[in-house]
Subunit: 555 residues, 2 copies
Amino acid sequence: MSDARLIYLPLGGAGEIGMNAYVYGYGKPDQERLILVDLGVAFPDMDTTPGVDLIFPDMTWLQDRADRLEAIFVTHAHEDHVGAVAHMYEKLGAPIYARAFTANIARRKMDEKGYSEETVRTASAWPETIEAGPFRVGFAPISHSIPESAGLVIDTPAGRVVHSGDFKVDANPVVGEPFDPDMWREIAKPGVQALICDSTNVFSRHAGRSESEVGPEITRLVSEAEGMVVATTFASNVARVKTLAEAGQRAGRSVVLLGRAMRRMIEASIETGVLRDFPPVIGPDEAQDVPREHLMLIVTGSQGERRAASAQLARGKYRGLELKEGDLFLFSSKTIPGNERGVIRIINQFSEKGVDVVDDSSGLYHVSGHANRPDLEHMHDLIDPKMVVPMHGEHRHLRAHARVAEAKGRASAVAVNGMMMDLSGDAPKVAEYVETGRTYLDGSIKIGALDGVVRDRIRMALNGHVVVTVILDEEDEPLGEPWCDLKGIAETGASNAALVEILEEDLNQFLMRANPKTLADDDKLEEGLRRIARQSAQSEIGKKPEVTVVISRMR
Amino acid sequence: MSDARLIYLPLGGAGEIGMNAYVYGYGKPDQERLILVDLGVAFPDMDTTPGVDLIFPDMTWLQDRADRLEAIFVTHAHEDHVGAVAHMYEKLGAPIYARAFTANIARRKMDEKGYSEETVRTASAWPETIEAGPFRVGFAPISHSIPESAGLVIDTPAGRVVHSGDFKVDANPVVGEPFDPDMWREIAKPGVQALICDSTNVFSRHAGRSESEVGPEITRLVSEAEGMVVATTFASNVARVKTLAEAGQRAGRSVVLLGRAMRRMIEASIETGVLRDFPPVIGPDEAQDVPREHLMLIVTGSQGERRAASAQLARGKYRGLELKEGDLFLFSSKTIPGNERGVIRIINQFSEKGVDVVDDSSGLYHVSGHANRPDLEHMHDLIDPKMVVPMHGEHRHLRAHARVAEAKGRASAVAVNGMMMDLSGDAPKVAEYVETGRTYLDGSIKIGALDGVVRDRIRMALNGHVVVTVILDEEDEPLGEPWCDLKGIAETGASNAALVEILEEDLNQFLMRANPKTLADDDKLEEGLRRIARQSAQSEIGKKPEVTVVISRMR
């Protein structure tokens, strides 16, 4: 297969942080056998995706080639890596491989959607490998902020590829395997063609801190607290949850886990054996009888999510528990950019209750799960690949990461979603541009990002919505006057009369003057009525609403 | 007047950062003569106030007592202090006092709304004072991030009050007067009853840095740059703009100011004499002929605002100028929480163009305009008041600030919007609770925050909007079938048929089965149709849309 090639095609996660989906292929052009690494989601926001439940990468390219897809490999159980497996499985249909903890989480998702648990296969750690067409893939343990993360060792006829997955260099991650430079050196020994590498923290210039370093600070804080202590972190950060629980235990407090995700993650960790000696926990009912100074709650909602436990506790009671003056609330987590408002809202609500809030502004109570720049350089050196292709980052991260690689003389390139890279040569080069995008889960339905549904919502949110109704008789003459319903629009405008009346009057004027041709033509009539409604609103309230015209004809 | 009292009533700015409006009163209860300090705006966001243009404090309480209002004093020209003067003037009607630069900005606002420039009176600096009923008010210069900020010295029959305004302790603020501890000591000498004090930076534990400290860093960065340099900061931070312009000049670059606010602020500074020796600037047309390595653009849009110059440059050309690979973009500003997404969007767009972006993550290119905790303590000590009332902060800031004061043995209290405090005694005590809230400028119209307009917009944005139209004949029998228009809703649901058809069919079923009583009653009919539309949508697309029912009767 002299004209066979090794390709890498990010469909999600390169040019954004979230919804990771990376395709590798090997074979003759357009006949490559394919594998998919990760299949995650991104989360919506009110600015760009109001009402949307989840965001998926658009997998059309891969769905159209599903017959060439050998397998799906999931590096770890964060939602941006595993969140879409069940939603997207129907049209991909390949076996899903993951290590035990990740597989446990993936199976729960498959099960919820009615798929057999056998769709997900548990992979052993490197040096064991899985054959998938021309690929042989091993899950090499790597430290991150969730148990059993893996970097993938992908052997291909064109050489070895290392796909780092999300990782940090942590010699003591509290739960799970430490970063093992010797193992990576072994993996690198035969020579590595390409390192596809996490870029998230490329702008952090200092070496990363170990998960184990937050323990003493948290222990000190909890031991000094006088009232109830409530701490929040990412539920998936099982090591942190353990550290928090142990700090509670050491201070003679009973530990309560609140929030579905929190209980599910700890459950999965215990089921799969990644978590041992977790302090005993009690339920919220039992906690009612424990004096507050002997309680330690560990709760979901570190990003200020409105429905999570922390937001509910900030608003009032949750599961019978309530914070009071003198209690302590700890954010043991970073606030992801974009979530600041929600987090600050909670802090202020607690402040109103007299609860002291400690956040991570001092950097004492949280460490990141991603490799900082010096750690990325360390990884590049360990693997010593022919080329480095940055992934898992916005454009700015990928670009900075490519520079870091190039500064040490390694070939690199910024490859964003849709850029199919040929990795067969001495440097990554663009082979093809593939159309990519996003799919939204909206309620129970998938809609395309460009369907216009969300655009219409944003327009209604910004401008309000006027519904104009007219009825015409058999001769296309208006039957009565047009009328308007307003939603999301000021009731009274500049002339101090009800806006709805002014609009109706202006629309009626238009109808009375309209010529028979206009009245007989739905499109023309609609256009005219919309224009009048918008003009009339503009002069009354200074903005042009969205307008829906409903024309009923008696003929 | 033995039963006269001195009151303080925040109507905006206490319990939030933004829309400052603080009332002081002196006299017998309910007969106090009043003054207002500041009258600012807050800015909307998509999460809570989609489509809104500006947010004002609800001034109803003061409007109802406008006959007792002696004057309005504006401490400085930031929008959250002066932004609402013209919008709210009609119903308040008292003279507005400010120092020359602030008055210049305020007059432009009054002029735009058709008010005489004489509504705004220029005040000289302390020790000159203005008499306003029982009050005598002096504008004492204080350093901040805009020229001619003032703390107010408010003499009342119940003693002296110092209203700090926004301030920092800066001995060398580059433009404007340095913080003058001797002056404040003089002011404190007769004894101060209450210090009403800025709380913004109470969580910053280190002493603040001086505006003059960013100069060398900026100069170094600009001198090392090879392509075009573009810098953004708050337009009102005239000192920073000057520092940036001088750095450009020193590097042999022609300076261009882009963005209306940028030019207006510099113009006002020069007109009022607060800015001297600003480097010469050229227009964007002239800049076309200057080699890019000799250009320095200073632009608006430091918070990622979509329509400002930086966002436009990030998207493409602006005023004939365009950034290219090798150019440098500098954010010389802090990102205000909530604006992260917009700023990050711009950084990524520049990254795609190959433009290097330097932001303030290292803290080298920006300093804050507010006093940090040690500086607040310094101010408390200088003024040595009987009581400290924190203002200009969210609840968490006010609470922490009150603790700082109490730690040094001074009386304090958390007073949020609507809490009228009696300052006459030895400690602030609540005199009354007043209803407060927010008013929105929406297009050209003011609407109440609780009018339901914005709530409806948010609901439409989250759920989409279905319009159901039915026509009934003279006998209240349906004339034809009902129909639906969808906006912001998926077109196809679970049964793979057009959602609109399924809704219409379900609604028709309902109509056919409805009893004459329901058909004859608009409310009942509407309720039934809405319920069916929501149920039907829920089962098809998994969410319940907003529904507007339009019933036309031929009778």
